[in-house]
Symmetry: T
């Protein structure tokens, strides 16, 4: 079974109750359940972390190759635009990462159009709500298969 590290960035714990017009009605728990279901079908094991702490996210990424993860699925949320530390962490570990966003960040405020994270990821998926995660996990499955 391929182990995948799934990271939810800051404020994603509030999904379902937070600005529903932007982020939708589904809670993080429901998203995680969908991801788990898909993972099971594809013989993957997910390790899911949500944190509002940049340092915790850097910690878990830095630890990821020791923990034998095959890939990282990350929604960096607000850290997308402000965290060089998360960027450096992803660049530091020899594991492919995929960046996902619930909302279409290119249709929002200017400061959300720039990602510190994207240049060190394999690819980026933005704007499909919870389906962004589903597509991201499929993309990772494919990357692992072809690596």
């Amino acid at each position: 079974m391929d182990k995948i590290l799934v990271i939810h960035g800051p404020n994603l714990n509030l999904l379902g109750q937070r600005e529903e017009d932007i982020y939708g009605k589904m809670t993080l728990g429901e998203i995680n359940a969908q991801l788990e279901a898909l993972a099971q079908k594809n013989n993957m094991a997910l390790h899911i972390v949500q944190s509002n702490h940049e340092g915790e996210i850097v910690d878990v990424i830095g630890q990821s190759s020791k923990d034998d993860f095959k890939a990282i699925l990350i929604n960096p949320a607000a850290f997308t635009h402000t965290s060089v530390a998360v960027r450096d962490a992803i660049a530091a570990v020899p594991i492919p990462a995929v960046e996902v966003h619930l909302s279409n960040i290119y249709a929002r405020e200017d400061f959300r159009h720039t990602s510190h994270i994207a240049p060190v990821c394999h690819g980026q998926i933005s704007g499909f709500g919870p389906q962004s995660y589903i597509l991201g996990l499929q993309a990772l499955g494919n990357l692992i298969k072809n690596s």
Copy 2:
């Protein structure tokens, strides 16, 4: 059967022989074959257009709602960064669009980090090679189902 308009922007006719380190070895014909296979499984009919002419792409998008397309899957390629006309065309028709890119445009030259197209699309998928199209078509299938 849901009809989907698939648009390949400029120079994508050269895939497979063009800068393989960036764009990969698969030809456009092979990508289209993969898309057709997936479409068939999902009861979709694809209308596929490749053009190096901005005007032709604007024409076909402007015509799309009359042609009863349910959604648009577009890799605008170079027009991503230069064409307001393609942007305005997508905004002008009441059909959801998804933007895809073979390469991770955020890991390339600065001028490729800005998309005129993304703000008027439902979402964007970038960096997964031919699988970007596959993921984009899946995303569209979901959008149509939920609309």
Copy 3:
């Protein structure tokens, strides 16, 4: 009879069905009919072109002095912000041009505030819906009379 070249840029063929809150309900055919009526009253003959192709617009402008047009009335639409070729074409022919816009481009997105075309035109009229064309044609009539 003074011959006038009237150019409608990309996506204007969709008028009446496209983002009505921005562009209004009148179709391009109806606008052209209004223009023809005014032209007839002022003893002008209109040659009307709509194209989504930058190259066609450049072609017809470049040909305009040979075709003995006295003036150009142009709504460059999206090409306003992206086409140096249309700008150079207008600068290349010894015929006065007037730029018109249906919407007030200065009340929209930032990228619509800059016109490549305006510096080589005689003047610009923006924001009056179909009446922008009417005013533009009157302005041209005056220019021709005084030249």
Copy 4:
């Protein structure tokens, strides 16, 4: 009879003697006479103000809805590029305004390409010399009719 407020910004009192290559030979009095003639034909009454004082222009605009003006025709001249106060005044009153310029401001110095006023006006007409005013008054007549 529809009452129209006509505002001439700073230095327009010098027309006819000021930089004739840019602003032409007609004096402000002659322009006003042309406007009055057109107004009479269209059953409009003009109240014409010229001021070099931003504050006076703000005063008269702020007073305009009490004075029962139906529309404002304004050539903000130098204040186009520097006055947020005039902008805010126009935005504060529920009356459509049209901005006009004698010269083509987009063919002049860079700092003249930006208008604080345009985004709160109905439209802008630039570059036709005194005819800019005539076209602007026609545009206003149409706006009043359709409102």
Copy 5:
């Protein structure tokens, strides 16, 4: 009794009838009455000036130390973003000033995020509607007490 100079910048005379969603329903007279009431309670005497003329505001500030004012409460409105003269006037007199705004200027257009006035004031209060003035007057009372 401490004499305080209260300055209302351009267009604030229109309060209550101007863009109510931004500036609220209270008139300037009502705001002044609230300020007078608070001043009386705190043994302050207010000299209140509203002007749409930058020059008048510069005049009254320049005169303020001769007039024995202990402090200045100013809502520079549009002059916030355009007037170096008001800034220089405040810097020129040895009296503490407080800048207030009805609306949250940082949640509005980009050009409203920059204040020429703030760097020479003691502090700035923005976004609380008429209460911004009340808070500003309290802040001034405190400054005078501690100076």
Copy 6:
């Protein structure tokens, strides 16, 4: 009793011993005592948090509506200029927030003139030393009363 969440950002624990010319001599304990005194008079209960950890501040804001806080008083300190996560947290909860600063951030280094937080707050108060908090709490009291 209305419960209010009071948040002190990074380095504010050092008040009284840190750059006294900028931040003054009062310690955070003394500021909190003043706030508590005012709160008691106004029948408010304060929950006061100081943290140097962005994640802790995001946590406590995200939790605030569950904890039944009526409003947030926040001095984001250094996070003002760097934290999109705190911004998103405030935007995510349906509770009014007020941003305060001890120093006049507009009279300091350029990078301190931009606030990620201000656009999602009700208002901002800057430059009055410890009184900024007092004024902010008063502003919040008023907001709660009027909501």
Copy 7:
């Protein structure tokens, strides 16, 4: 006798009592007396205006050629950086102008490094305190002689 128009911009009425470290101890009256003495020696007659009102300065410049002034000596003060109207007024009259500044504007805040006025003046003198005026008047005397 050559008539010279001398213009002192906003806040210069406060000289001698205003920020002495920047502007020195001499009052405007004393500067004017020095200028009058020099003028008398050179057979010039000065018309001296100080105003905090941009409009008044524009008025007097626009009137200057009718009033038969041979040259303009102007310290635009704060209007240096904000007034296109004063610039346009100087450009509109066929009289040479010289711009002077008491302080070295290039050794002060960034926004003081840009002058709207300088490009339409004959020359600029900055940084010599009251002597800037003296030098400016000498320069004008020379310009008149050589014209």
Copy 8:
């Protein structure tokens, strides 16, 4: 015989009649004749294309390696500054390209100082009128010989 693809960009069909002070009096036909003469002397065969259509230029470049061209000589004219598609086409084919300009683009408007095309060409020649083409063809001859 080495086959060379020669591309003339938009509006170059107007040479000889277009802004002679910038572009000179020679027609495109005359330039082509000069190029043919030089080619013949050097045992090269030219395929010459002029187009106002970006898409046609992209088509012909994309086709160039199949057509067995040894090199490309291109004057992209207005597309120099706006076309990423032409840039990508040149980068996509394994053939050396040389960019030429009739006028010295660095002595003209600011927007003409930036070339999307230059970074993917072997070199650039600008400012020598028709001789720019002659020099470019010589440069290509040398490149082919040394490759």
Copy 9:
């Protein structure tokens, strides 16, 4: 014995296994051992902290003067470019700090050329690999001796 606080910023725990071409092969443990050896020779005691948490670094710096540290040696890593909080912490404590970097940050991506930390440090050393730390500790020794 002089106590020195040594701070290693985010991801430095991964040294030796992370992008060896940029950061070298030495582990953090080995670097610390080298520093301890040098400290011992110079009669210094080191307190070494590595953290991926901005808040922890701010905490330990804020605590440093109470803990009687004589100086701070810090490699802020990614926080160099994003943390105003760390900057403010260093400015808040009356202890000299030296900033070090393993790689030459001026030879890397643009965003790494700007340091929030440098302006509040005594000096900066960049590009010498582990020796940057050694040089930094020597510099601190000298600073302490001369203070």
Copy 10:
């Protein structure tokens, strides 16, 4: 007798034969003769240097206080915009300097609007042709008298 160092920057040796419309017809020898005459009248001794070598100008300035010069009169010409070394030299010596320019640098190309030298000079005089030097020497005389 007060010794004054007069420095003429690069290309000023060509005066009289160089772009006469910008720099006038007077040669450097003639300007120097005028300066010498004025110096003699004011009991000053001039040491005049012209150099096209930045290093020579830095040398002579660095040497100036040893050579007992009381002041520096400098036309840095092209070095105005490019030489930090000349700036640092002037800042390094305890002698007042005055910067002069023949042409009005603010009415020329954008890059000539910025002076590295002005912020470290006492003042700047620009635009009066050879008289700029005369005025500058007078200004220096006054500075020496008052110091």
Copy 11:
């Protein structure tokens, strides 16, 4: 025989041993020999200067019309991007100049894309290695013939 001034800017003396991947293997001596050979064939006499000193290059250009040179061929190397003095020297003499570069400066670092020299030259040739000089000399020959 036409005399031509050939100028090689800084570091070009190191050709052949300096960064061969950018500048090639040919030494400056070899390039000069090629130029001399071509000159002889075309009845030109070359005066060749290489200097690392901006001042020497300015000197020799300023002297060029006295020395009866018919044209200047210059590779300004690093001075391309930093020397206004060289630019002004070329503009000061009535002799056509051509700028050449060995490498394609538009395919290198951003700061190499801007030339102070190009706007005052007749044309620019960049990217052809030593052949850039050969092409430049041919261009000059043509210019002289046609002048």
Copy 12:
């Protein structure tokens, strides 16, 4: 014995008498003596050059590999921010260089934050006064040992 080239840029000859608050009291002679002492201990021979002439510095660097220097220690002073020629010289020779600064350039004016030299050096040391040189020489010693 390893030969080291030590370069002191412009104005450093004035050390000890120049702006002591920024550069300290030590003369260049004293700094050189310290460097010589350290060199002797480490079996290095120093060749020390101070020059205010960019060209001389470029000359000596270009000559350095022929002169068999093992490394370069350079304080480029003002040339740090303006000299591409010095940068290119360092890049042109196959010898490691270290850049040092007496003052902390990141705590000074904005234009001093950018170094043309740093990207081609091995590392940079800034802010430690004369000790910056000492640390730089130690760094070089280490580089030579490990190369």
